[in-house]
């Protein structure tokens, strides 16, 4: 067997196993196991439905669908960022004693969270049948594109945060605050048009606004918003390049600080 081919297959297997570890570890010692990944979003949807319909009586049409169509992609992003903050410092043993590509730890964290997002999709599909246009051909085109864009953007941010946190543990607390700020600065709970004109600028400079808008457009109206997709893609490239740069630069001395 070719050496490069062997190396490639080994790396692929390693990434697969690390991701699998990420997913299985989460449900180790539970009775329902991976079923929780499916059950969690269903229960969440139910809670939201009751909260919005019964308690808050929100007038907006299909508000639960509106909220969830943005919340699920957001959760993939935010969970990845929060988890990856600790992924390097949480694997000191591996980093100090085994030689392997360290960015695989970050990759597997994001991929592990992607599994959760995929498991939440049946809810979105269900809502789209009852309250939207139903999943159409546009889903097939846009879904993989948006997955890739969000993956790239998240990767860039997670690479940066995980390595900076190794040097500067205050990062963990900063991330916690910034994530909740970002949640409210992205049109997830409210539609963009509800924001007063004067403040829209602050949402417009947030790349996540475009990504979330693109997801919601697809899920709710089976519509491809190429403008938002383009902006998301552009900013994701910037993030990932920056992330790789910082990760490589600081990675050389990771052993001294971890």
């Amino acid at each position: 067997m070719n050496v490069f081919d062997h190396e490639f297959r080994r790396k692929r297997d390693l990434l697969w196993l690390l991701t699998k570890k990420e997913v299985t570890l989460k449900y180790k010692r539970t009775v329902l196991g991976i079923v929780w990944s499916l059950l969690n979003p269903i229960l969440l949807a139910l809670v939201m439905f009751i909260a919005f319909k019964v308690f808050m009586k929100i007038k907006m049409e299909n508000y639960t669908f509106f909220f969830l169509s943005a919340l699920f992609p957001w959760n993939w992003f935010s969970a990845s960022v929060v988890m990856s903050t600790g992924t390097l410092i949480g694997n000191v043993n591996l980093i100090k004693r085994v030689r392997f590509p360290r960015h695989f730890l970050v990759l597997s964290t994001i991929l592990g969270q992607l599994v959760n997002f995929i498991f939440a999709l049946p809810i979105v599909v269900g809502f789209s049948y009852f309250q939207g246009e139903g999943p159409g051909i546009n889903w097939l085109i846009t879904f993989p594109i948006l997955i890739v864009i969000q993956f790239i953007a998240t990767l860039g941010i997670c690479l940066m945060i995980s390595i900076v946190n190794a040097y500067f543990r205050d990062m963990e607390y900063i991330v916690g605050v910034v994530i909740s700020l970002l949640f409210w600065m992205t049109p997830i709970v409210y539609p963009l048009k509800m924001v007063p004109e004067a403040y829209r600028f602050y949402l417009a400079i947030n790349p996540l606004t475009y990504l979330i808008t693109a997801w919601r457009d697809l899920f709710m109206s089976n519509h491809i918003d190429w403008g938002s997709i383009g902006i998301s893609f552009g900013s994701s490239l910037i993030f990932v390049l920056l992330g790789i740069l910082v990760f490589q630069r600081l990675g050389k001395r990771l052993d001294e600080v971890i």
Binding site: D13, T24, L25, L94, R97, K252
Partner: protein, 245 residues
């Protein structure tokens, strides 16, 4: 015979920093910090040069703090040299902290798989050897239980079995491990010796000078981060003993 490991004038420093510098000190030193400079440094390795040829067994001796473990980590590639070059043209099997990649909540079998891949095999290759590994480890009936339920002995036995059965090409050993009970200890030592005598390139750090004389065909005496003596093991060990009194 080609050089498997090539080390050219390698230096490694560790910055000595306080654990919590405080905001003022942090901001003042930020540019230095980013560039890896620090007011006080500890040089663990100071200009070491040597090479290891295919099939050789190199012993490294020296007192505590001489830089032996740092040197092994540099060869392994988990830390980077501050200056100098290190070339390694083989997949390395470290027997430094065996079981470093084990996760307590995964079963023995899951851990074998993930560690085998970490040590340089593909998943298929590990699966092909998995029965061999389990048999060697002598913990067959527990292999599908989470590793956290293992005793220390069982844990080390399994970790050693994975490492030794990954078809090593370049072994890094920090002390011959005393794993498990008397019988397993003998078995693991024999397996290791068989590999070394069989021509697997080995770098062996030890305080056991008899073992170094017995196993290695070349030795290096490391002192204060520098090579003090290099040559045939008997001579190097003799010099070292003379010095240590």
């Amino acid at each position: 015979m080609s050089d498997i490991v090539e080390i050219k004038d390698v230096w490694k420093k560790f910055p000595m920093r306080r654990d919590r510098p405080g905001l003022k000190e942090f901001l003042v030193n930020l540019p230095k910090f980013i560039n890896g400079n620090s007011n006080s440094n500890f040089w663990a390795i100071k200009g070491v040069t040597f090479a290891v040829k295919q099939g050789e067994c190199l012993g490294i001796i020296g007192k505590n703090g001489a830089g032996k473990s740092t040197l092994l980590s540099l060869i392994l590639g988990t830390i980077y040299p501050t200056k100098g070059n290190i070339n390694v043209s083989q997949e390395i099997t470290p027997l430094l902290d065996i079981g470093a990649g084990f996760h307590p909540d995964l079963t023995g079998r899951e851990n074998i798989l993930i560690n085998g891949v970490l040590l340089g095999l593909t998943k298929d290759e590990v699966l092909k050897r998995i029965e061999e590994i389990i048999t060697f480890s002598e913990i067959k009936e527990f292999v599908d239980m989470p590793v956290r339920t293992y005793s220390t002995g069982m844990y080390l036995k399994l970790a050693f079995s994975v490492a030794i059965n990954t078809n090593p090409k370049l072994l890094l050993i920090d002390e011959i491990l005393s794993v498990g009970d008397e019988a397993f200890r003998k078995k693991s030592k024999d397996a290791l010796l068989q590999l070394i005598k069989g021509g697997v390139t080995t770098i062996f750090v030890s305080h056991n000078l008899t073992a170094v004389k017995e196993i290695c065909n070349r030795a290096i005496w490391l002192d204060g981060g520098k090579i003090r003596e290099e040559g045939i093991p008997e001579k190097v060990v003799e010099e070292y003993l003379k010095y240590s009194g």
